[in-house]
Symmetry: C2
């Protein structure tokens, strides 16, 4: 039998969060954190609404997952995020010792890979899951915003 | 007349925050954010109490200062922090476009400088202000913790 809980399944949930951000006028990035095929945190970017540069989807998801687990280390957890994490979020993920990061679209300019942010040695990172969908949502957001100005 | 509001003055306030962290059993790092010689945010590390790796002094101070200013950009602000910021905090400070970062002690292993975290081009960073006091407080914390175990 096919396992319904694959990377595509969870990235779709992260994309739903990104769409929720879009609807609020936020740069559409969403994230979920999963342990044993169970979603323990969902979040989307809220930097505009909260007037707070630290309110990226990943940061809120880390806080929520830690709260759920009652501990600050996200061992055995996987983060699904629609866009490659930035330096701040990758730095937070380093501290969390999270087991795995799965991202959608690459962020060539502000993503952690090109900027060389150090991840924890325990952390595996893979990308490109539903990258096109994530990327299209971001493009649509910036086109609509440009047309509003 | 001497200006009482110099880097030493504000770093002493950040050190008071670090001491508050120490008293709670937290790694003693403290921070304040200043605009026009006025402190608009004070914070200390609370990662243990909150079970949250994102609860570094700088992150909380950024959120508090943004809240005070009603905007997410910390233009014309200076952060005083007793320890060189990590990748996460430096990444957050990049997003905030803060004008100046003044730190106390260097963090050779986990600090943003050796790890090459990119700061915003608008941001000036200087270090070494009350470095010995900050460093001694951290050393005392780790010695006491080792003796407890």
């Amino acid at each position: 039998m096919e396992n319904p809980f694959d990377d595509i399944y969870f990235m779709k949930k992260a994309l739903q969060e990104a769409e929720a951000a879009f609807d609020k006028g936020e740069v559409p990035v969403g994230a979920v954190i999963v342990i044993d095929n169970k979603i323990i945190a969902r979040a989307h970017n809220l930097t505009e609404l909260l007037n707070d540069v630290t309110a990226h989807a990943e940061m809120q998801a880390i806080t929520a997952a830690s709260n759920y687990l009652g501990g600050k280390y996200l061992l055995k957890c996987t983060l699904y995020v629609t866009l490659e994490p930035c330096q701040m979020c990758a730095g937070a993920l380093h501290w969390s010792q999270i087991s795995k990061i799965v991202y959608g679209a690459r962020d060539e300019e502000r993503g952690c890979m090109n900027l060389g942010t150090k991840l924890h040695p325990k952390t595996e990172m893979v990308g490109g899951v539903l990258a096109e969908e994530s990327s299209q949502l971001l493009k649509r957001f910036f086109i609509e915003r440009r047309n509003l100005n």
